[in-house]
Amino acid sequence: MRCDTEAVTASAAILVVDDHDGFRAFARKMLELAGFTVAEAASGAEATAAARRIRPRLVLLDIQLPDFDGFEVARRLAGQEDSPVIVLTSTREASDYGGRIAASAAAGFLPKDQLSGAALLRFLAEGMP
């Protein structure tokens, strides 16, 4: 449910952006079990607003969003001060997006079915200066 997304905690370290409620809820459960603090956003606009407010260390960003797509959200987030590590995700494969992922502001791509706390930790480790 979208109204949940406003109830974010200030200490959230990971922002899950996806318009699919079921996946979002499941990702939150999985990542919280893995020890992360999780916030949610259901659209591109919510994602940029939430990121500005809670400054997550990592954004798990679905490419297909109802307002603007993940690439555009990534571009906006990357422009913010202290920008987070951005991981694009989709049920499709990276090859379905051609060179757009490599050309984007994101640190990488994670197919949705391979989501795990460990996978995100690897991105965090790579993304740290």
Binding site: H20, G22, F23, F26, A27, M30, L33, Q64, T91, R92, E93, S95, D96, Y97, G98, G99, R100, K112, D113, L115, S116
Partner: protein
């Protein structure tokens, strides 16, 4: 004119000429052979021309005039009969054919005189010729300068020759003046004539001065005593050979009839030569050439019925075509009309033929336009159907992605988590969850392939360059991209180009036994050219498999063309041209 009339007139003409020849050989003073020949030939020619004119121009009086002239020419020969009555009539009527010739010249080519003045000139000519002949007959005693066996002149009042000499002094100037007036009027007719009439005047323009010159010479010879004209040879030339000039009149007329027949052929040729879909202006030009009427106008009724426009865009009124103009409807509906020289009304067959040809050409153009419009409609609807199909597949792929795939992914993740939680606790549950996770992952992969087959998301997401790159990466045959434009194109163009490459690479993998393949896509000024080639077995035919056939249909749906060059043993080269502004 009915066949019976034609037969009757022909029989009468032949009888008259035969009569002439017979009359020539009745006992009496010998007649030179050339005189008989020219008498018979000229008379017969005029009579036959009369029949031809009646057939060709039934509405014209030209046929009647030719016939009258012919009989007036033959009539004087009865004077050779050894009886007083025919002798008198023959001599009396001898000069009248001259007036008939003037009448014919002035009435050419319609058979009608153009003004009261000209009618007056013709009447004066007849009156002068007959009157003069009567007066001379009153004073002519044939016995004095004819052989003593001559029949009597029934009209003779006074046999002394003095009166005839007095008349001769007046006779020559009046005759010459009338001849001059007729000639001037004919030249002015020619100057005023346009289009068909002018062409019809041309033979007359040649023959009239020659006949006038003959007439003048004969008049002069009859009135002035010159040694040459008085000699036997001079007489023979002037009254034996020279009249043969008159043959040119009927001969030129018959020649122009043949030319008109050629013109009828020209109408057909003009229509055949007119390439399909030519604008109405070209049709007008072709018809004008065929009719020999440069003033021809082809006019169409405006759609709102308010008037007519000709092919030059000028408003015209068929109800008032103007002086010297006539109107022939092209079709019964009157939607199109020909406005032409009114002289052509005497060529009803030619005009009817032209109108019919114009009607056929216009109908052909109309049908062609209709077929073209239908073809365009069908092409457009085919393109819309293909596009709608693409849209449906795009939506289907998106629905799969948003729905089933999403849920399956979540399910797979949940199973994975459950398996992690079960680790160490229950080995049987763990292995069960392990295989469930594996099944779910495989389902995800299969569904992803299915979705990609329905419609490649990468094409929507990134356009041709990314989509072709993805295709090439998945191709089992080593494939290189030699050219691909970076920009985006209209969705039907991108989809068509993509399916060409996709189908071609599938064929390469399935049938070609190739080691290498190449893909090149180039954007030219008005089209996108897609080229896929391989170094395989070749021998691919467009009709062999439904794949290539379907691909050709697909390319045709966007107005493009597909070419396959596949000689056995020399690889296959497939080239699609897709229109793209």
């Amino acid at each position: 004119m009915s066949r019976r009339w034609q037969a009757a007139l022909t029989a009468a003409a032949v009888a008259a000429v035969t009569g002439l020849v017979v009359v020539t050989y009745v006992p009496g003073p010998p007649e030179p052979l050339i005189g008989t020949i020219s008498q018979a030939a000229v008379g017969l020619a005029f009579l036959l021309a009369g029949i031809a004119a009646w057939r060709r121009w039934p509405s014209s009086r030209l046929g009647l005039l030719f016939t009258i002239t012919g009989y007036l020419w033959l009539l004087p020969s009865v004077a050779r009969l050894p009886y007083a009555l025919p002798f008198t009539i023959g001599n009396l009527m001898a000069p009248v054919y001259g007036a008939a010739l003037a009448h014919l010249g002035l009435a050419w080519p319609t058979g009608r005189l153009r003004s009261r003045f000209e009618a007056g000139v013709v009447i004066a000519d007849y009156a002068w010729n007959i009157g003069q002949s009567f007066v001379s007959m009153f004073f002519w005693n044939p016995r004095t300068n004819c052989s003593p066996g001559c029949p009597a002149n029934l009209l003779m009042v006074d046999g002394s020759k003095s009166a005839e000499n007095v008349l001769g002094v007046i006779s020559a100037p009046v005759g010459l003046a009338l001849t001059g007036i007729v000639l001037v009027l004919i030249v002015r007719h020619w100057q005023a004539a346009r289009g068909w009439s002018r062409r019809a005047m041309v033979p007359l323009l040649w023959i009239a001065p020659a006949i006038c010159a003959l007439s003048v010479t004969q008049t002069v010879a009859e009135n002035i005593s010159l040694p040459f004209f008085n000699s036997r040879v001079g007489n023979l030339v002037l009254f034996g050979y020279a009249p043969l000039i008159l043959l040119a009149g009927p001969a030129l007329f018959v020649a122009s009839t043949l030319l008109a027949r050629t013109a009828r052929g020209a109408v057909g040729t003009a229509i055949v030569d007119l390439e399909s879909g030519a604008p109405p202006g070209r049709l007008r030009d072709a018809l004008a050439r065929a009719l020999g009427d440069s003033t021809l106008q082809l006019a169409f009724r405006l759609p709102d019925g308010s008037g007519y426009l000709d092919t030059a865009g000028q408003a015209v009124d068929p109800a008032r075509p103007g002086p010297g103009r006539a109107v022939t409807p092209v079709a019964e509906s009157g939607d199109a009309v020909l406005i032409h020289d009114d002289g052509l009304e005497h060529e009803p067959q030619l005009v009817r033929l032209t109108a019919a040809a114009a009607s056929m050409a216009l109908e052909h153009s109309r049908l062609q336009a209709e077929v073209q419009a239908q073809l365009e409609q069908v092409s457009a609807s085919r393109a819309r159907i293909v596009e709608a199909g693409d849209d449906a597949r795009r939506r289907l792929e998106r629905d799969l992605h948003d729905g089933a795939q999403q849920r399956l992914v979540t399910l797979s993740l949940a199973l994975g988590m459950a398996r992690n939680r079960a680790t160490g606790a229950d080995p049987e549950l763990e292995s069960l969850l392990e295989s469930a996770t594996k099944e779910a992952r495989e389902a995800i992969v299969e569904l992803r392939e299915l979705a990609r087959g329905i419609h490649p998301a990468v094409l929507t997401e990134t356009g041709l360059a990314g989509a072709i790159q993805a295709l090439v990466e998945r191709s089992p045959v080593a494939t290189t991209i030699t050219a691909v434009p970076a920009g985006r194109f209209p969705a039907p163009v991108e989809a068509t180009a993509y399916f060409v490459v996709s189908e071609a690479l599938t064929n390469v993998a399935k049938h070609a036994a190739a080691r290498n393949a190449q893909v090149a896509i180039r954007k030219l000024a008005t089209r996108v050219v897609v080229e896929v080639s391989d170094d395989g077995a070749g021998g691919a035919a467009p009709d062999a498999g439904s794949g290539l056939r379907g691909l050709a249909d697909r390319v045709a749906s966007v107005g493009g063309s597909l070419r396959i060059d596949s000689p056995p043993g020399c690889g296959t080269r497939l080239e699609a041209e897709i229109p793209c502004p």
